[in-house]
Amino acid sequence: MTAITVAIPTGRARTASPLRAVLRNKLALVAVVVLALMLLAAVFAPLLAPHDPNAQDLLVRLRPPAWMAGGTSEHLLGTDQLGRDLLSRLIYGSRISLLVGASAALLAGIIGATIGLVSGFLGGWFDRVLMRIADIQLAFPSILLALAIVGFLGSGLWYVIIVLGFTGWVSYARVVRSEVLSLRSREFVTEARAIGVGNVTIMRRHLLPNVMAPLATIGTLHVASAIVAEASLSYLGMGVPKEIVTWGAMLANGQLYLGTAWWLAVFPGVALMCAALAVNVTGDVLRDVADPKAYRR
């Protein structure tokens, strides 16, 4: 295996005690299982959801979860103010969260990898300018950018994905760039250059495969933050169209009835947290696998 120094900086100790290694593994196992379940739920939603997520049934409006007084086994997690089943809506909501999360990460990854490759390989003022833009963008609140886009152009699934993709590329670019910087002076690159192989080919054939591992790691972490960001936008009413079920919109609706029906706001949040946590832990595990000796934040 080629030694990939994942130069994601800042020091951290290696796994110090066996106890921690075991804990980490158990946690990782749980996380991966949860993630797999969520993916299954998203893909097979129509089969798994006990009810149509948009079906209203007034007889059972604002019913609590099945294990509480007044609950019914027909609606395991209760119903909202229009009698829609919470569990079904949660299952369908996972579709948007995972779809947006994955798409945004993919888009950002493509953009970031390209910029990182070009920037690291070609260097010069191009590199300086790009990294300067990266700095500015890294800390600019992406939610503001998303709101500006939505505020001007209107909301929609593609707008959300594009915005989250365009605001997330920096971490990818950084990682890829530092990797390329260290690979740039290696023999297989200098020789290729000497022979006269084009820059693009070098980047594509020699450099790109070597950065896939760190890319994947950053990608998983970005999925988690994209999931939370999409939920934030939906909560504000600025995300995907309101007819589509999203966890964020469910949270906004649930907050209205917090005094009478707490389950409407708690369960979507739990789902969000589990999804983001599962993805984050999986990302951590990927990083460990890529290089257990890696320095990481």
Partner: protein, 507 residues
């Protein structure tokens, strides 16, 4: 070193910022002020140029009417001490002496005549319809005025308890004109107008020389609060004391929080669905009856309205004169509905639209869902309240589609008000032509005999049930949310007369 510096700056700033805000940001936080919220602002401050309860609720504090509805529901004296019918076409009102307008002008028969004349003047274009039969007013002596009607008007004294019964100052009008009056209104009411910043707040202060003595509350502020969430924030920020006009769903959204008390009282505001009897399937009365059988009103009340309403058999609420308790509501029977639809030629139901304002969107969705059980697919169209009321009162009877959700306040507490605008074929919101109905309406509107009127009302309610030109729903409670400061009880109409309100603290 640097570390401490970094921490010190925000830490030092914080107490300053906190101290700054502890003084109270809310505009009405000053002591002695009662802050009341409605869902929207009044349309205008000219009492004769508005016809909705939101505006009237504000104006009833600035102006007095000839009569008023007491807390026990009876008609009581206000600017008029007594009244009597001098014949079928004349009502004599004897006025209270010693009443002055806020500008010092005396309130007498001349002022009443001026007000009635102005109301009836076509140039005023008043949307108030209750006094349609009043022809003129004559001054008998400074404290006696006669109202002449073109046909018998049995409940005229009830009709001057709000809206058209407001008395305006003639001399002030002559000074400032219509535009000036709307900017700075002057009346005889318990409160004097201070200022109005649209969509923000409307302020008034107690009138010390009011004929009933100054009201306990020193300052009164009206605020628009469009939804429950903003009301909650305002209640908890000490920006508002009393939130009115709450739907049951909004009350659910305010329930459970610290500092908020929900109160509900029986009300007479009656909701119904208006059907365009000339539109497609709705032409057949069997279809209309089927709709009534399909919409399970008790279920609707329990599930969507949190039980805060009472089913009504037709258009008239229980407390109003003319209500016939022998007439039963439609049975709720989806199978019967489907059968009737099949008989009428719609075995698979049909598609239509149901229009409602944003405040009622949940009820509309629920009703649509109930209709769907019988095969009627009603798409819900939601319009913002402002546009909705404009279209409702426009001349275009089709402006809101084949089916729309509406309610009548019926503030005269007489069945006449509940059916005055939408039954007789020539009324603004009517979408039904029926000779029998027209006759019955004339019967209850023109007779001065209570017995005859009751007979007409009974006949009308039976006809309404048989022909079903509306889908009958419920009469809704008056629901309020408040903090611990105000002490106030509404009358059955639910108008926001704050003269009797007290504040429970010394803040």
């Amino acid at each position: 070193m640097l570390r401490f510096g970094t921490l010190a700056v925000p830490a030092l700033a914080l107490p300053g910022l906190l101290a700054g805000c502890a003084g109270g940001i809310a505009s009405g936080a000053a002591g002695g002020a009662l802050r009341v919220a409605q869902t929207s602002d009044p349309k205008t401050l000219d009492p004769q140029k508005q016809g909705d309860m939101t505006s009237m609720n504000v104006l009833i504090n600035l102006f007095d009417t000839l009569t008023t509805r007491a807390a026990d529901g009876t008609l009581a004296p206000r600017l008029a001490l007594s009244w009597a019918a001098l014949g079928p076409l004349t009502w004599r009102f004897t006025l209270r002496p010693g009443v002055t307008f806020h500008n010092g002008e005396p309130c007498d028969a001349a002022a009443v005549k001026f007000s009635i004349d102005r109301l009836l003047d076509p140039a005023t274009k008043s949307p108030i319809v209750e006094l349609r039969y009043v022809k003129s007013a004559t001054i008998v002596d400074p404290l006696t005025v006669d109202l002449h009607t073109s046909q018998p008007d049995p409940i005229l004294p009830a009709k001057v308890s709000l809206f058209g019964g407001v008395v305006l100052p003639p001399k002030y009008f002559a000074e400032v004109g219509t535009a000036g009056f709307a900017k700075k209104p002057v009346g005889t009411g318990p409160f004097v107008f201070d200022s109005w910043s649209r969509d923000h707040e409307l302020r008034m202060h107690a009138y010390a020389q009011h004929w009933n003595g100054p009201p306990p509350v020193r300052e009164l502020v009206f605020l628009p609060m469009p939804n429950a969430a903003s009301s909650l924030a305002a209640l908890q920020s000490n920006e508002v004391d009393l939130v009115t006009g709450l739907t049951p769903d909004a009350a659910l959204q305010l329930a459970g929080y610290t500092g908020v008390t929900i109160e509900s009282y029986p009300g007479i505001r009656t909701a119904y669905l208006s059907l365009d009897t000339e539109d497609g399937p709705l032409r057949d009365k069997r279809v209309r009856q089927a709709l009534n059988h399909a919409v399970d009103v008790p279920l609707l009340i329990k599930a969507v309205l949190d039980g805060k309403a009472r089913e009504v058999p037709t258009m008239i609420p229980r407390e109003s004169f003319g209500f016939d308790s022998t007439i039963q509501p439609f049975t709720r029977d989806v199978e019967l509905a489907k059968k009737l639809l099949a008989e009428a030629g719609y075995p698979n139901g049909f598609d239509t639209t149901l229009t409602a304002s944003t405040a009622d969107s949940d009820v509309a969705e629920a009703i649509s869902g109930l209709m769907a059980r019988a095969g009627i697919r009603a798409k819900v169209v939601v319009i913002d309240s402002g546009t909705y009321s404009t279209r409702l009162t426009s001349d275009n009877r089709r402006a809101l589609g084949p089916m729309y959700l509406a309610a009548s306040t019926g503030w005269t507490v007489d069945g006449q008000s509940n059916v005055q605008s939408n039954v007789r074929r020539d009324r603004r919101q009517s979408r039904w032509t029926s000779d029998a109905a027209d006759r019955l309406i004339d019967g209850e509107e023109n007779s001065v005999s209570d017995v005859d009127r009751l007979k007409a009302f009974t006949g009308l309610q039976q006809l309404l049930k048989e022909e079903a030109p509306f889908i009958y729903l419920y009469q809704i409670d008056n629901i309020y949310a408040r903090n611990e400061r105000p002490d106030w009880r509404p009358n059955v109409v639910g108008s926001l007369t704050m003269a009797s309100a007290r504040l429970g603290d010394a803040r």
